[in-house]
């Protein structure tokens, strides 16, 4: 079957280098002018891009577990995205230096007086956080690497053995990611508002990662297709990618609504605090903006059969979803750390830097192997996919 190599255009690489430079400069400027804001910004971008990578890895696992055939031809793209996880690991370890600027529970003086923080201290303390981060990232890196290796071996040797092994690894991965990403979301985002708790928060964060990860996979597939790769991409494939975004956008809306509605209805101060704290402009606006961008627009625009198979409609929705995710995280992180809704060139620059790095990683890893997993048992199903 079609062997295909992706060779990154030189200009594209230079472009990502330029973006990374912008990011480094913005980050450096921010660090000297407003360190707290910069740490918040750092957390946001790290979380943003690691969730895309985790979402992508989860996407591969789900394909194996559900024995989905249609997506086989495109599995190198989520694989390349998952290759970003080691980079994220380094960033998150660096984040430990900034713990004091972000997390109230790390302050000795509040710990001395606050009964609730004292109660949570056995879990929420910097050494244990560091241990958890190391464990989570080692597991994620180990499993994604193993999955990638198996897939590359399959390319050479073929046969069903690697296929079954991939399935087994996928099972282990979802097993681990279910627990670890939940705790990770609690650590990184929920504990910013140290007194607040919501049982659905971790699940919502996970769905968000999966939703936006799938959107980026779709975007990369469409961009590669535009540049003359992945010629087998047809409207049925597009429709299936859309289905992921559409379905996950609905689940996202459902989780967001469930969390908000139950807290609103129960009206217990310790729970409503999270929303009350954000119930003024501009955060109130962001609350609605996040719902519109992450749920309403994908829901309405991707529903008709026509738009759900058209790149012309999908690309804007994906771009809006990317903005929506930024807003969602901004809404969670900023009021708890920086308090004032500061947003400017620093944030944009840092985001561009991360986007550049993420793209560079993806480009490099796409180039390292066949763009199409040539001996994947479902490749034929995928190539001839039509419904």
């Amino acid at each position: 079957m079609t062997e295909e190599r992706f060779v990154a255009p030189k200009n594209l690489k230079y472009f990502t280098y330029a973006l990374i430079t912008i990011g480094v400069i913005s980050f450096a400027i921010g660090f000297f002018t407003d360190p707290q804001r910069t740490w918040a910004n750092y957390l946001l971008n790290n979380f943003y891009f690691v969730s895309l990578a985790i979402g992508a890895a989860f996407f591969i696992s789900i394909q194996y577990i559900a024995q989905a055939g249609w997506s086989a031809a495109f599995k190198r793209i989520p694989e390349a995205m998952a290759a970003y996880i080691p980079f994220a690991a380094v960033f998150f370890l660096i984040l430990l230096i900034g713990v004091h600027s972000l997390y109230e529970w790390s302050h000795q003086e509040t710990l001395a007086t606050d009964r609730l923080i004292q109660h949570k201290a056995p879990f929420l303390n910097t050494p244990f956080l560091a241990v958890r981060l190391v464990i989570f990232f080692s597991l994620w890196i180990l499993l994604t690497k193993l999955m990638r290796q198996t897939s590359l071996k399959e390319d050479i040797e073929g046969g069903l053995a690697h296929f079954h092994r991939s399935e087994k690894l996928s099972k282990i991965f979802i097993f681990i990611v279910a627990v670890s990403f939940s705790v990770f979301a609690i650590d990184m985002l929920m504990s910013l508002e140290v007194h607040w708790f919501s049982t659905l928060f971790a699940a919502k964060t996970f769905i968000s990662a999966f939703l936006h990860g799938s959107a980026i996979i779709t975007l990369i597939v469409i961009l590669l297709h535009r540049n003359g790769h992945l010629n087998m991409l047809n409207r049925s494939h597009l429709h299936d990618f859309t289905r992921y975004m559409f379905m996950l956008a609905i689940v996202w809306g459902y989780f967001t609504f469930a969390q908000f509605m139950l807290i609103w209805y129960g009206n217990i101060p310790e729970e409503t605090a999270f929303y009350v704290h954000r119930w003024h402009s501009p955060y109130q606006f962001l609350f609605y903006a996040s719902i519109v961008l992450n749920w309403l627009i994908p829901f309405l625009l991707l529903m008709p059969r026509k738009t759900s198979r058209s790149k012309l409609a999908m690309i804007p929705v994906i771009v809006l979803l990317m903005i929506g995710y930024y807003i969602e995280l901004y809404y969670e992180i900023w009021p708890a750390t920086v308090h004032d809704a500061k947003f400017g060139l620093l944030e944009i620059g840092t985001f561009l830097g991360y986007a550049g790095l993420f793209s560079l990683v993806v480009i490099n890893y796409l180039g390292k192997a066949n763009l199409v997993p040539v001996k994947h048992p479902y490749l034929e199903e995928s190539m001839q996919h039509h419904f």
């Binding site: 979802i174 459902y254 199903e381």
Partner: protein
């Protein structure tokens, strides 16, 4: 394109289309087996006892139950939620697997849908009788009335429940029925008995099988499917708000809506598995319900079980993390340990731990283990509802109000009665309705012979 070499065959044996019809429809024309009469008698006896208990409840009142002031919701609500949960799988199967284009669903969806209708009916009896004066149940309809400006409380999840469940009942029953129309026509055209010809002919709506009819038929199933997919999620989310909108410790938690939906699908799938293993054994449907079908359901169950386990752990962790002494008490002294520890651990073991055995192919291959686990999952799901309904109510904020609960014989009889009713419904379904969707099975028959890519491609 469908890789049978990897995925396994959808239909075993090389069958022609007419063979498929004959084999699936055979039990309808065959003589009723003796076990059927025995099973039916037992079910009807259970049903009869249930009727007696309902009679006692209606004539003497809720006082005949074990509920008290503190624990106002007893077995009735546990069973209501349990049955509704089971009733979810039909639609979950048909719709979600239809949307996901899972071709193996064709062998199982009919049984699942039939089960839905019966289970939802069983479920609706409980809140009806729990009202105390069921003859006034129409007070729950929101309509202008002569009782003064007395409207239902639109803010009440109990009212949402009524709306969601009645809508769900209507849609799932029509979805099931319309799916059967082509099969009824097949029976009408093949049966030799005149009575059957007339009866099935009536229900077949004069189906001729023209392409126009098929077009409309497919359109209708997609529309109904789309509506039902939303309802599946809404029904159990709303059932969960019966609990979650309160401020009761252990009830008021944001994870409840999705956790209930997943739990419902879990119990429903388990019930489908119970039914199809029975169908396979009793009616020798091995060629249609193949090992790979059972395997697929097991895979779904292990995945859902994982979600359930994560949800249980999240709840326990959050109870501690919240630092709220009421939450901590409920979870650590009234669930994991304490008076109701058995029920908690029964739930945890049956729902989160035991289905993990399905990771192993050797377990998935042994039909009798699969059968036992599928039943135990539903036992576990029953205990889950017990855990939720009883433990939180029994010991909440005011220790002076604390109480215990055990069901009365009338409540037990009521539950046994619904089990009998469910079993009777399923038996009638086995006997009089094609238990596998013939027309849908035929539609996947063509995938049995793998098309070689060289004939098609390049």
């Amino acid at each position: 394109m469908y890789k049978t070499s990897i995925r396994g065959k959808l239909i075993e044996g090389d069958k022609s289309l007419s063979q498929i019809s004959h084999e699936i429809l055979a039990p309808i024309d065959a003589k009723t087996p003796r076990w059927w009469y025995i099973a039916m008698t037992v079910s009807l006896a259970m049903f009869g006892w249930g009727l007696y208990c309902k009679y006692i409840t209606i004539t003497q009142g809720i006082g005949t139950w074990g509920v008290n002031n503190t624990i106002g919701w007893g077995w009735a609500i546990i069973n209501f939620v349990w049955w509704i949960g089971i009733g979810h799988a039909g639609t979950a199967f048909s719709i979600f697997l239809l949307i996901l284009r899972q071709k193996w669903r064709t062998a199982i969806n009919r049984a699942a849908e039939a089960m839905t209708v019966v289970a939802v009916f069983c479920a609706s009896l409980f809140p009806l009788l729990h009202m105390g004066r069921p003859w006034l149940f129409f007070f729950i309809f929101p309509y202008p009335n002569t009782r003064g400006p007395l409207w239902v409380n639109f803010n009440s999840p109990l009212f949402w429940d009524f709306v969601a469940i009645s809508a769900y009942m209507l849609i799932s029953a029509s979805f099931w029925y319309f799916g059967m129309v082509p099969d009824f026509a097949t029976i009408r055209d093949t049966t030799k008995s005149k009575v059957k010809k007339a009866v099935y002919g009536f229900f077949a709506f004069g189906w001729t099988g023209s392409s126009k009819e098929w077009l409309r038929f497919e359109g209708l199933s997609f529309v109904l499917g789309g509506i039902a997919a939303v309802l599946v999620v809404s029904v159990h989310s709303i059932v969960s708000t019966d609990f979650a909108v309160s401020v009761e410790p252990g009830w008021h938690t944001t994870i409840f809506p999705p956790y209930f939906v997943v739990g419902a699908i879990f119990s429903g799938f388990a019930m489908v598995l119970t039914l199809v293993t029975l169908m396979r054994k009793l009616y020798k449907m091995n060629d249609f319900i193949t090992d790979s079908h059972v395997d697929a359901v097991c895979r779904i169950l292990v995945f859902i079980s994982l979600i359930m386990g994560t949800a249980y752990l999240t709840e326990i962790f959050m109870a501690w993390y919240s630092g709220s002494q009421y939450e901590m008490y409920t979870f650590f002294q009234n669930r994991i340990t304490g008076e109701y520890a058995f029920q908690f651990w029964a739930m945890f073991v049956f729902n989160a731990l035991m289905p993990q055995l399905f990771w192993f192919k050797s377990v998935r291959k042994r039909l009798w283990i699969v059968f036992i686990i599928s039943i135990l999952i539903n036992v576990g799901m029953w205990y889950e509802r017990f855990n939720i309904v009883i433990t939180s109510l029994s010991k909440n904020y005011l220790p002076a109000n604390w109480a215990s609960y055990s069901p009365s014989i009338i409540e037990i009889g009521f539950f046994v009665g619904t089990l009998g009713m469910f079993a009777a419904g399923v038996l009638l379904f086995f006997r009089y309705i094609p238990m596998i969707a013939v027309s849908e099975i035929k539609s996947v028959a063509k995938f049995n012979n793998e098309i070689q890519p060289t004939q098609h491609h390049e």
